[in-house]
Every structure is written in C-alpha cells, then in structure tokens.
C-alpha cells in the first residue's frame, strides 16, 4: 500500500464519511469539516507512529496536513530528511 493509500484508509476508517467516493485525495479535510482540531491531533499521532517521523509544531499547517495528498507529500519530504533540522 502506498503512503497515500495508507493515509486515506486511516481517514476513512476513523472519520465518518457517508460516501467515501466524495472524499478525494485533494479534499480539504479541515475546511470541509470532515476532520476537526481533535481529529487532527489523532491524524498527527497516526502519521508519527505509522511513518516513524516527528512533526514539529510549526509544521502543523494546512499546507502540510489539509488533504490526503498533502499529508503523503509531507511524509515523503520528512522521510527524505528534506525539512531541515526539524525534519
């Protein structure tokens, strides 16, 4: 399973979606109300554990975490060590 698929599976299993086909990989999860701030805490904990990364506070931005594809790209950058000292 790819990173994107793993993240998508977690989102669909943990947050109620009446029709999974309505959640695309570029769907904005927070602005659409699918994931709230408590949910995002769960998402961050999942990403850290599943992909063995540490997410710094300043990285908890919509640009990194607002959609499945952004999260997958963020995880890839972290795993490649492309985010400097905190990456």
């Amino acid at each position: 399973m790819t990173t994107q698929q793993t993240i998508r599976k977690f989102i669909l299993e943990n947050f109620y979606v009446s029709d999974p086909s309505e959640v695309a990989d570029d769907t904005l999860l927070v602005s659409t109300g699918l994931v709230d701030s408590t949910g995002m805490l769960e998402v961050i904990a999942f990403l850290e554990e599943e992909f063995d990364i540490r997410i710094a506070d300043h990285e908890t931005t919509p640009e990194n975490l607002e959609s499945v594809e952004r999260m997958a790209a963020f995880v890839a950058r972290k795993q490649q060590g492309g985010l400097g000292a905190t990456g």
């Binding site: 701030s37 805490l41 904990a45």
Partner: protein, 323 residues
C-alpha cells in the same frame, strides 16, 4: 465603512430591553419566582446579575460563588463585592470537595502525566492554542506546564491525554451548573446563563456545563458591548478593569490563548465584520492587521462554528412518519 464604532450601543435602551425580557421570560414564560446567577467576578456574570436585579428586584436574585482548587482568590473576593454592591443574597459553595470526589483532579493529573511524566506537586498547567496571527498553523491545543521553579514548557498531548484532560476539566463547569440548579429548584427560581455573543457563537462553553441555563440575557451582545453595558449598570470598576480569564487551570490563562484567536476587542470586530460580509482588506487597517491575518481569523471563526454545532445541538429524536 467599517470602523471600531460598529459595536457602539445605546446602553440605556439595551439595558431596558434586556430587563423587560428577563421579567417576561423568568416570571411569565418560565413561571419562576426569581433567578440564580453563578458569579465568577468576571464581566459577563456581573452584568447578568446586575440586569436580573434591575429586572426582578434584589430579593428575587441569588448569587452563587463557586470556587475550587484552581480558582484565583480574586474571583471569590470580587463575587462577594458584587453581591454586596447589588444588595443580594449570596451563597459560597466550595466545589473542590465535590470535584475531588468525582476524581476531577486525579483524572487531570493522570492525563497530564501521559505527556509530562514528572508533573506533580508544585507544578501548574494550562491548555494553549497557537497564535494564528503569527502563522497559518492548524488549531491544535498544546499543554503548557510550569515546574515548581517556574520553568515553562509546551508539549503536544497524545489524543487520549488531551481528551481526558478536557473531559476531567469539564467536571468544573458541570458541577457548578448542578449547584446552580440545586438552588434554583429549592427556591423555584430560573438559572441565568452568562455567555456573551462571542462565546455563544464560537462555542466557548461546556455542553451541559456553563452552556446550560434557562435564559441567556446577554448572548446577543458582543463582549465590547457587555463592557459598555457594565459601565451603564454601574458594575464596580475593579470588575470592569479586570482582564478576562478562563479561571479554569492552575496557570493563569487568557481567553485568547485558550480559545479565541485575538483579544476580545479585535475578535468582536472580526466576528461583526465576518457576519456582515466585510472584506478582510477593509477590516485589516482598522485592526492594525494584514488582510491575510484577518482571512485567517475568518477561517477560524468558521472552524469554531462547525465544532460548536455539537455543543448547541439539542438531543436528537427518532422521527417517526405520521400515519
């Protein structure tokens, strides 16, 4: 044209309308003989208590002061001062023993130790949000702890720890409400709710805790307007000058670091502007902010409204088709 004056009110007229509503709602609609007001020493409960006294008379208002272990000493002193100023009866109910019995403090401690294992005697804590003015970070609450020497640090909590911390802390607001209803029931009074518009709109309350009440006489007023009304009603100056606080955690905490994106004056104006579809570019220079920062506050307002839908939601029933 957007200016800071959009929140100006005709205080005597607003006061008169609120008092007429309280009389009609408490005595007529609710068929109760008076009102119970939980008084925290803050501006909102002071305005509600003052309005109830003007509407119903001092003999029909009971003030409740409900300190607990983490309350500031100021809260009790200012509550007593207001009761004396208004000439109303007041009862001090120390809710700390009830909270001990419920395991509030022990459950909080257990939650904190999931993130900070060394937390113990002499340490203090609070929950905080990142400043959305400084960056576009998501609204993720952190735990700030201070050791006995005063060294502070902020950590992200595991989800289970965060949820337990909030759940345990909510015992405070719910215990206070239970006590308010005890006194309301024994006197055949109604319970006054004290949220202002900012709190009501943005969900800054505990469901079945401070969110529960029989009437909410200032929920239509921005906090800036509550201060204007307080001045008109003659609320003691020390209460009017006191900065708003949550008075919930052992470390001192402002409302903006716990919940709101900005201090209340700016938050009020942003909420007004957002409700009136005012472009961020028009609001920004008035508040001394960048348009992008105002856009972030607008997004934050919407996010909090989504979360607060659950808090406002009445119990759901099964709809059975007729016939």
């Amino acid at each position: 044209m957007f200016t800071r004056d959009v929140l100006k009110i005709d205080a005597p007229l607003v006061a008169e309308r609120i008092e007429a509503s309280i009389r009609e709602q408490v005595l007529g609609t609710l068929r109760r003989r008076g009102a119970v007001v939980g008084m925290s020493g803050g501006i909102d409960s002071s305005v509600v208590a003052s309005s109830c006294v003007r509407a119903l008379g001092p003999d029909r208002v009971l003030g409740l002061l409900m300190p607990e272990r983490d309350s500031s000493g100021d809260a009790l002193r200012l509550g007593r001062m207001l009761a004396s100023h208004l000439g109303i009866r007041h009862v001090v109910e120390d809710i700390a023993p009830a909270l001990e019995g419920l395991g509030c403090y022990a459950r909080q401690l257990e939650a904190i130790r999931m993130a900070v294992p060394e937390y113990g005697e002499g340490w203090r804590c609070k929950l905080t949000l990142p400043s959305i003015l400084e960056s576009d970070r998501l609204n993720i609450t952190s735990l700030t702890v201070s050791d006995p020497q005063g060294n502070q640090r902020t950590v992200r909590m595991p989800p289970a720890a965060y949820l337990q911390m909030v759940a345990a802390t909510n015992f405070k607001q719910r215990s206070r409400k239970m006590m308010e209803y005890y006194h309301a029931d024994r006197l055949n009074y109604a319970v006054a709710g004290t949220p202002n518009r900012l709190e009501y709109d943005q969900g800054f309350f505990v469901k079945q805790g401070d969110g529960a009440a029989d009437f909410k006489p200032i929920a239509h007023l921005y906090k800036t307007q509550v201060y204007a009304l307080a001045e008109h009603l003659g609320v003691p100056e020390e209460i009017r000058r006191r900065p708003p606080t949550t008075d919930t955690f052992s470390l001192a905490q402002t409302q903006e670091e716990f919940y709101f994106a900005l201090p209340y004056r700016e938050m009020d104006l942003c909420l007004w502007a957002h409700e009136h579809a005012t472009p961020a570019a028009e609001v920004a220079p008035v508040l001394g902010l960048a348009p992008e920062q105002v856009e972030r506050v607008y997004r934050d307002i919407e996010a909090k409204r989504r979360v607060s839908r659950y808090l406002h939601q009445a119990p759901l029933l099964v709809e059975v088709p007729r016939g």
